[in-house]
């Protein structure tokens, strides 16, 4: 290596020397900033429910939902049906071009078990029509369904099927949408049911040759009905029995998981609602309150349970349809509804039997259903929000996304401080559980205390909120796992220190809260 090269290398090495840092620069900081604010009222805590304000500003909890819901699709189904026809000449003859050589009327029945349907309105569904032609000329085939009409016009489809042979018939397929059509299922003479009439017309290709057609040359037509869903029907719906145990989720109760609640009074209705123009009977065998968190069940005791109920048909038609409603009132005086609800059910199970046309075809085939028709049992709860709680545990879950940049800043320790003005006459002690993307708990922040209850006056009414603060300590371990947290569960103990003294809840009750942080932040770069 020459002296010159050595010199250049030396210079290049020196040139490359920079002010490289040997370790990262870091320091600790303390930050106190507001993080969030908000107001929690009953609507936030008890979701999917409606509160009605009484003249004295107290609240009533109102909940309405169907426990049983039998619509037309539940009562009978139109099965996927294939109507297959082979049409042929009765004699052998030469067929010149442009000649209608077959015109044939056929009837086929839908296999609707137990029902004799005269008329159907189609909400959705369709059919695939497939034609196979063995004749040595092209054929224009027209399929007309005279009883299937929309806006006064019959459903009619014409297809050109190329020439084929007996060994290798030509095939043509076409999808037809039946949505919005009205189907007359009384057959060609008008006194049948479940019957569809079709007319086939075959005309030879006007541009083809004269061909010799024998009575063995059958054109095959296949109409495959698929997913026919009606929204109107007339006929005899049959004598059918529907027995089941249906479960309903009480979403508005799902946040209460344990503890006890003392409910002052309850008024609940079970409304049996018949929107079908058909006579029915029903029996509610059992209604059960289930707390899936505890596994506790409470059966409702009420005189109507197990009794046969006659259910009249709905009245009116189409837009004037008026369902028949059979109300069953359940209250604190005629049932054990309080303990039924104090079980904090998040599910109800109803065991029931319903029967339509128990006396047979007494309507002369004039049962009706309309698009809005259903046979349902509706739960209607209307209760004053007057209760007491003893360590009633309430949970709610929120999505969470925390993105620290450990390359530049890292929370080392600190605390979150929750302060609030609480009107509710209940203490609220809320712990925070952090879950990973698998729903597994990865850490918990425990509250240092409770948001203290508002103080009721001698009438049990809180006129001024109580201010209090609680803190959540954040340590190194928490910060190491916090990035994995995808959701946060608020686990709150709602407790009345004067339990079992019950209090009314007023429309202005809320918790106005603020969350601020005092955190240690390590800055690194």
């Amino acid at each position: 290596m020459t002296k010159s090269v050595k010199l250049i290398l030396l210079f290049l090495i020196l040139f490359s020397l920079g002010s490289c840092k040997k370790e990262r620069t870091s320091w600790d900081t303390e930050w106190a900033v507001p993080l969030a604010y908000g107001t929690l009222d009953l609507n936030d805590m008890i979701q999917d429910s409606i509160f009605a304000v009484n003249p004295d500003s107290t609240l009533n909890l109102i909940y309405t939902g169907n426990i049983v819901d039998l619509n037309f699709d539940s009562i009978f189904k139109i099965p996927d049906t294939i109507l297959r026809e082979k049409i042929a000449l009765s004699i052998n003859l030469d067929v010149p071009p442009g000649t209608s050589f077959i015109n044939q009327v056929e009837e086929r029945q839908f296999d609707i078990e137990g029902a004799q349907i005269k008329e159907l309105g189609i909400k959705s569904g369709g059919a695939t029509i497939t034609v196979k032609n063995p004749i040595a000329t092209g054929v224009y085939l027209t399929l007309t369904l005279p009883g299937v009409q929309k806006q006064g016009s019959n459903l009619s489809v014409t297809a050109f099927v190329p020439a084929g042979s007996s060994a290798n018939p030509a095939t043509f397929s076409l999808d037809v949408d039946f949505t919005g059509y009205m189907m007359d299922l009384r057959g060609a003479n008008g006194n049948s049911w479940n019957t569809i009439t079709s007319v086939f017309d075959a005309t030879s290709d006007p541009n083809g040759d004269t061909v010799f057609v024998t009575n063995q040359d059958s054109i095959t037509i296949e109409v495959a009905f698929q997913d026919i869903l009606p929204d109107y029907g007339r006929g005899y719906f049959g004598n059918q029995i529907f027995s089941a145990q249906d479960t309903i989720d009480l979403d508005f109760m799902r946040n209460f998981v344990s503890g006890s609640i003392l409910i002052d009074s309850v008024n609940m209705n079970l409304n049996i609602r018949n929107g079908l123009v058909v006579i029915a009977t029903g029996v509610v065998n059992q209604l059960t309150s289930i707390n899936t968190n505890y596994g506790n069940t409470v059966n409702l005791n009420h005189s109507i349970l197990g009794q046969n109920i006659n259910i009249n048909p709905a009245s009116g038609a189409w837009s004037t349809l008026s369902p028949f409603i059979y109300p069953i009132n359940i209250n604190s005086g005629n049932s054990n509804i309080q303990s039924f609800l104090q079980n904090l059910p998040d599910k109800l199970i109803m065991d029931y039997n319903f029967q339509i046309n128990p006396l047979g075809n007494v309507s002369g085939g004039n049962d009706y259903f309309y698009p809005q028709s259903e046979l349902a049992v509706e739960l209607e709860l209307n209760m004053p929000t007057r209760f007491s709680t003893s360590h009633l545990y309430f949970i709610d879950t929120f999505n969470l996304e925390i993105n620290q940049n450990p390359e530049s800043t890292r929370i080392t320790n600190g605390e979150l401080i929750l302060s609030g003005d609480n009107y509710f006459p209940f203490d609220l002690h809320a712990n925070l559980i952090f879950l990973d993307d698998q729903g597994m708990a990865i850490d918990t922040l425990f509250a240092s205390g409770s948001l203290v209850a508002g103080i009721p006056d001698f009438n049990g009414k809180v006129n001024m909120p109580t201010f209090s603060e609680v803190s959540y300590l954040v340590d190194q371990n928490f910060m190491q796992v916090i990035d994995k947290a995808k959701s946060i569960v608020v686990w709150a103990d709602v407790n009345n220190t004067n339990h079992p003294l019950a209090y009314d809840l007023y429309d202005y009750y809320s918790i106005q809260f603020k969350i601020r942080s005092n955190i240690g932040l390590k800055v690194e770069f």
Partner: protein
């Protein structure tokens, strides 16, 4: 190939070491000189009120403890200028060629990398950044006149020089590598348990962040340097007065340059809880943040003047027969954070192969300090110089800047 030592001034023609050490010039006959390779590095920083113990942590890494923060904070005022640069350059001098057929004119080619920073950090900004806001709840922090600029660029230069006195000049193509410039003319920060109030009037620009590393090209520019060494009579002997202007030019940063401008007051009370649980929080939306703060974002070319350096001084004549010489002068860098610097010193050369120099100075990014220089010259092959413009700061954590410069020069032909 014949190589031999060139005992000339290391620090002529706009090279950095001379710039810092203050004033050297040449006066010699270069008729028989050949090709010379010269390497110079200049690394320094200075601050008015921030001691080295703090700056070192930023420059070289390490944990900044409470004591260090307290020590610094207590010394700060609203004017705490700071600045520094690292600069390295390799230059090839051709003494053999007579440029434009003039015997006294040579030329040179060089490449260098300059990373320059200057700014002003107010006491409240420092405290906020280093302690966080928790110790300052219910106090309004003054963020006025906070600024920071960082420029990094490659410099490819071609120049000519006078072989006798070292006067000359060059034109340089600048290859913009990185640019950050932020300034808050007026600003304040206030926080308590319920609110954070930010007031601000300023802007920040930065070059395309997607291009990193020394090779990133984010703009281009042009600059010129010139150096005029004037021989004069000085107390019955000869001396040289030097007028030098360096880095007079600009860089146009390319279209990827982003500028954020803000002139607003923003109050933050925390996120609305209902927004958080409904997924509508600005927490996850950068655009909402920007709108809330009334920040205007623009992208496009930004033209900046690079900080120029201007020196007027009586400089050392490296080829003077006197063993002891004096030097003094004044220097300026064209940024708001550089206080005009005056300096004076002596240079003693007892033997041919060794010389030592010392200066005192006031001004610059810091205030008062001394300089020291050691030159070693091995005849016929190699010369090296080590110097500092901050003797106290370089060797003490209590100083307000550090400076290390190295120069190596040798012949390759």
């Amino acid at each position: 190939m014949r190589s031999y030592l060139i005992i000339i001034a290391f620090f002529s023609f706009g090279l950095s070491n001379a710039q810092l050490y203050h004033g050297f010039a040449i006066d010699s006959n270069f008729q028989d000189k050949k090709l010379v390779i010269d390497f110079q590095t200049e690394d320094y920083y200075g601050t008015l009120n921030i001691q080295n113990i703090m700056i070192d942590r930023f420059a070289f890494g390490g944990y900044i403890d409470q004591h260090t923060k307290d020590l610094t904070s207590h010394k700060l005022t609203q004017n705490n200028r700071l600045g520094g640069e690292t600069y390295s350059q390799i230059t090839f001098y051709d003494y053999k060629t007579n440029l434009f057929k003039k015997e006294r004119l040579g030329y040179y080619l060089g490449i260098g990398y300059r990373n320059y920073v200057n700014g002003n950090i107010t006491q409240d900004v420092f405290n906020l950044a280093m302690y966080g806001n928790a110790p300052y709840l219910n106090q309004e922090l003054n963020l006025n006149n906070t600024r920071l600029q960082n420029l990094a660029y490659w410099k490819l230069n071609f120049g000519f020089f006078d072989k006798k006195y070292g006067s000359g000049g060059n034109i340089s193509f600048l290859y913009g590598n990185r640019f950050i410039k932020g300034e808050l003319e007026n600003g304040s920060f206030y926080a308590n348990d319920e609110i954070v109030n930010l007031k601000g009037n300023g802007q920040v620009s930065f070059s395309d962040g997607s291009k990193n590393g020394l090779g990133a090209f984010n703009g281009w520019g042009v600059s010129v340097d010139f150096n005029w060494n004037i021989p004069i009579n000085w107390f019955k002997t000869k001396a040289i007065i030097q007028l030098k202007a360096e880095n007079i030019g600009f860089i146009s940063w390319n279209k990827g340059t982003t500028t954020y401008a803000v002139d607003s007051t923003y109050s933050f009370y925390g996120f609305d809880f209902s927004d958080i649980i409904n997924g509508n929080s600005a927490l996850n939306n950068e655009t909402d943040w920007m709108d809330s703060l009334n920040v205007k974002e623009t992208k496009g070319n930004v033209m900046t003047w690079i900080p120029a350096r201007i020196t007027f001084a009586k400089v050392i004549d490296q080829f003077s027969e006197r063993k002891l010489q004096s030097t003094f002068g004044v220097r300026m860098i064209t940024t708001r954070d550089y206080f005009p610097q005056i300096f004076a010193g002596v240079y003693y050369r007892p033997v041919n192969w060794f010389a030592v120099g010392a200066t005192l100075r006031y001004g610059g990014f810091d205030s008062f300090d001394g300089g020291l220089r050691l030159d070693f010259m091995a005849k016929d092959f190699f010369a090296i110089s080590i110097s500092t413009a901050s003797v106290y700061g370089t060797f003490s954590n209590k100083g307000y800047g550090r400076s290390i410069n190295v120069g190596i020069r040798g012949t390759i032909k």
